[in-house]
């Protein structure tokens, strides 16, 4: 199922011209002189394969900034994911963040005899359509809010906002009581066995409920279900859309109207929603449709947006902190009241930086896009 050499050549890394443009734009390389995408490629593709394991492969944050800049469209982060798989096969040990709690949860979620109790947060006023073949894929928000309760994250607020927006737009959907983590973080860290177990469990669940269409709020679930599942498991026959792709057209056509919220807001493009899925306009259209909301852009935005600085729950350190501080400072410079993101993980990592920074970290309020849009309806 996984042919590493084939995968590596699919990333077009063999076209690498050694120009170093990736290294110039890479946020990790900017802060860490030992991290050099061009040299990683050279070391792996060079003749001498007996060199010791390349530890720098764990520092890449999969932000896809390099892909944006590369003239040959080398998919460097995917090259890194393949190298990580190889490294784990050769016995490398992961340095899991948060004591491995996320990996433990993801692995336990892959179990066949799992009966989760994950919908306790579902608000009474949200209407589900039980027989509907469209589902809203909640993602790991119920778990995140417990795991990161000390950071004050409320990623479920974004999910609730998304459900209220869908209800308001009269779009019927159901929710699965036993959906699993999409597996993206395991895939990115090189744990393919773990990823496959989750993906297969989800596919079985989808088949059992006759799912034909999936709406997600988390950009990572969106990309994984839409791109990685078919790529790795073969065609799924399921249409996958991001919430913003559902809501923005209704706002344009006037079928849906948002309310009022007097705020100055800046929008942080999550790497996976922006550079991976090319969804840059819809989130901005949604914010622009909120009356009274003034949208201001950060210095780096859209294709050039800076990442929230975090990895798939491995190897988080000083360099990640510096990137996060830089991004928060960019938000601060806009004088926005609120930094809006469309990804629960950006919210977690940025709030973590605010909490554990040196006291100089910009303390702008961070909220999910769906939360902000739904709040304007109140």
């Amino acid at each position: 199922m996984f042919d590493t050499e084939r995968e590596i050549s699919d990333t077009r890394i063999n076209l690498c011209l050694d120009c170093g443009k990736c290294t110039v734009v890479c946020p990790v390389a900017q802060h860490d002189p030992d991290f050099n995408p061009r040299l990683i490629a050279q070391r792996r593709l060079g003749q001498n394969r007996n060199i010791p394991q390349d530890d720098t492969i764990w520092s890449c944050i999969s932000c896809y900034m390099c892909t944006e800049r590369c003239n040959y469209r080398v998919r460097f982060p995917e090259f890194i994911h393949a190298l990580r798989f190889e490294a784990l096969e050769e016995g490398a040990q992961l340095q899991c963040t948060h004591g491995g709690a996320l990996q433990a949860v993801m692995h336990m979620m892959a179990r066949g005899d799992l009966h989760q109790d994950r919908l306790g947060w579902l608000p009474q006023d949200v209407e589900l359509a039980e027989q509907c073949d469209t589902i809203f894929f909640v993602g790991c928000a119920p778990y995140f809010d417990v795991l990161f309760s000390d950071l004050g994250v409320d990623t479920l607020d974004g999910v609730k906002g998304a459900l209220r927006l869908l209800n308001r737009a009269h779009i019927p959907f159901n929710i699965l009581a036993n959906e699993r983590c999409c597996g993206r973080d395991l895939l990115l860290q090189g744990d393919r066995e773990g990823f496959l177990a989750l993906a297969r469990a989800n596919m079985e669940e989808f088949a059992r409920h006759g799912v034909g269409k999936i709406i997600t709020n988390c950009p990572e679930c969106h990309y994984t279900l839409k791109v990685d599942y078919p790529k790795i498991l073969g065609s799924t026959g399921i249409e996958v859309v991001h919430l913003t792709e559902v809501i923005a057209p209704l706002l344009r056509s006037g079928e849906l109207r948002l309310g009022m919220l007097e705020k100055r807001a800046t929008y942080h493009d999550p790497c996976t929603l922006g550079r991976c899925s090319r969804i840059f306009d819809e989130p901005r259209q949604i914010l622009a449709a909120v009356a009274g909301l003034e949208l201001v852009e950060m210095e780096q935005n859209r294709e050039k947006a800076l990442c929230c600085g975090a990895s798939p729950w491995v190897h988080c350190g000083a360099v990640n902190r510096q990137i996060q501080g830089q991004r928060l400072a960019q938000a601060g410079a806009t004088k926005a009241d609120v930094m809006v993101t469309a990804c629960p993980k950006c919210q977690i990592h940025l709030k973590c930086a605010q909490k554990s920074g040196d006291g100089k970290t910009t303390q702008v309020e961070i909220q999910d896009l769906a939360s902000v849009a739904a709040r304007s309806l109140d």
């Binding site: 004591g99 709690a101 778990y143 795991l147």
Partner: protein, 137 residues
């Protein structure tokens, strides 16, 4: 699996916790072989990740065995482990695991028979949960 005894991981702190485990043999007693004791310097060293890892690796129950209230050798705030324990329980609930499979407890320092009693009744409780719930949850 249902016939064998429940696998229990005991995280015992180096002080009151471990002293009661060590006293078991000295008192000529024993506890089931399905109990694995992991020594930690203090329960405040534990966090939700390690607790969940034990369940991931197949534990049916986890016991956190610390010092009696106010007797911590390091004077750490007991709120630390209580908070981690609560978070782990909430995650277990989401995963459909009975939260009673995780206990935070203490026995008097050096009291081997107390520890044996506590751990065997914990195993019995887990056995009941396993037979009551389909799938062993």
């Amino acid at each position: 699996m249902s016939k064998s005894e429940a696998n229990v991981v005991v995280f015992a702190c180096n002080w009151d916790g471990l002293s009661s485990v060590e006293a078991v043999a000295q008192a000529g007693l024993s506890y089931p072989a399905s109990v694995k004791v992991v020594r930690v310097s203090c329960l405040s060293r534990l966090h939700q990740g390690l607790i969940l890892k034990a369940f991931e690796l197949g534990a049916d129950g986890v016991m956190l065995l610390g010092c009696e209230p106010g007797k911590c050798q390091f004077d750490t705030d007991p709120a630390l482990i209580t908070q981690e324990c609560e978070k782990a329980r909430k995650l277990m609930r989401l995963l459909g695991l009975k939260e009673e499979r995780l206990v935070l407890t203490h026995v008097p320092r050096g009291d081997g028979s107390h520890f044996v009693g506590r751990v065997t009744s914990f195993i019995a409780e887990i056995g009941q949960m396993r037979s009551a719930v389909p799938g062993g949850a």
